[in-house]
């Protein structure tokens, strides 16, 4: 039988070959000095790994167990108790952003406080439609004074007399219609 390659010998140590192949190699190693030495060397690393004790093992075991209980209790306090690490630039950028937005918000809140006042009522109940027409100029002026609300309620007079402003033809027709009705 030809010598098996070294990775096969390593697998032989782990018992990872088929039963027949295991038997073949067992037989082969009895006669082949070269393979026997290789096998012994490979086995030696295994042995040294298993002989190497971890120092103070019991202390680690106890400490980790306490760590688990502690971490679990802290976990029970919830998400907010969790510690996180953030890079300094991220923290600075986040606080700068916060300041900009908070500042802007406060500024605009001050600007818009007029909105919170009571709306003013403009009463035109006793004026004619023409009167309203002329006072439409007044409304922007009224708002520009800035001392009152931006909201305006305009009440249209209860009894109206409409004057039609538009195509002369339509006006004439309207007059004719009125005559017919009368």
């Amino acid at each position: 039988m030809m010598c098996p390659n070294e990775s096969t010998l390593s697998a032989y140590l782990d018992g990872e070959l088929s039963t027949e192949r295991m038997q073949e190699i067992t037989e082969h190693v009895k006669d082949c000095r070269k393979c026997k030495v290789t096998l012994e060397q490979l086995d030696q690393t295994r042995i040294s790994l298993h002989e190497a004790d971890i120092p103070a093992f019991e202390a680690h075991k106890r400490r980790v167990y306490e760590g688990i209980l502690y971490a679990h209790r802290r976990g029970a306090d919830g998400f907010w108790a969790r510690r996180i690490g953030l890079p300094m630039p991220v923290v600075l950028a986040a606080s700068a952003l916060f300041l900009v937005f908070a500042g802007g918000f406060i500024y605009f809140l001050g600007q818009n406080s007029a909105l919170q006042r009571q709306p003013t009522q403009l009463l035109y109940a006793n004026e004619s439609i023409q009167g309203l027409h002329s006072s439409s100029v007044m409304i922007p002026e009224f708002l520009d004074q800035g001392r009152e609300s931006n909201e305006v309620i305009i009440e249209i007079p209860g009894e109206q007399e409409f004057m039609i402003i538009g195509e002369p033809a339509l006006i004439r027709e309207n007059e004719q219609w009125n005559q017919v009705v009368r």
Binding site: S7, T45, L49, A52, D53, H60, V64
Partner: protein, 171 residues
């Protein structure tokens, strides 16, 4: 699940499997403090998720999977920090002489661990899972997403490298 089984208590799992998990974490990372952190996180995950596993073998497999992921993350972080460190100091790569390695050498007093620290990660992790995880090649292959024959080769090359390093250490 159709087969009835009694849930294994966390204490049983911890008492039986701590040695395995801690050994794997320590042998792969080469650092006691990191190994403590990793085993704590693995068991905490097990404690909180309480996976419904029928026996200790399954629990071991479950825990080893979590542990090897944490070891892998640690390895990536270590490599990243080493690169950043070298970039910052504009130093060419000098293997085995960075601060981290010196620290590891300082910490791991035992010769075997010192040698193991110098075995490349992809061989070391496979070898450690084989020797300390009581797993067969197929299970290791499943854990790492590699083929069984790849596991076989890596176990062999890991042993070969470790033997070489141990021999060098004796001289």
């Amino acid at each position: 699940m159709s087969i009835e089984h009694e849930a294994i208590s966390f204490t049983t799992v911890y008492q039986t499997l701590f040695h395995t998990i801690f050994s794997i974490a320590y042998r792969i990372t080469g650092n006691m403090t990191v190994a403590e952190e990793i085993s704590q996180e693995s068991f905490l995950k097990y404690y909180e998720k309480a996976p419904d596993l029928p026996d200790l073998d399954q629990a071991r497999y479950w825990l080893i999977r979590v542990t090897k992921n944490l070891c892998y993350n640690n390895e990536k972080r270590k490599a990243r920090e080493k690169r950043a460190y070298q970039r910052a100091l504009r130093e060419p790569e000098r293997p085995n002489h960075s601060g981290e390695d010196l620290f590891l050498h300082e910490e791991s007093k035992e010769e075997v661990q010192r040698a193991l620290n110098e075995v490349p990660y992809n061989l070391r992790s496979v070898l450690v899972l084989k020797e300390y995880g009581q797993l067969n090649y197929r299970q290791i292959g499943n854990l790492l997403g590699i083929s069984e024959s790849n596991v076989k080769v890596r176990v062999y090359r890991g042993r070969e490298k470790l033997a070489e390093l141990l021999k060098r250490g004796e001289q």
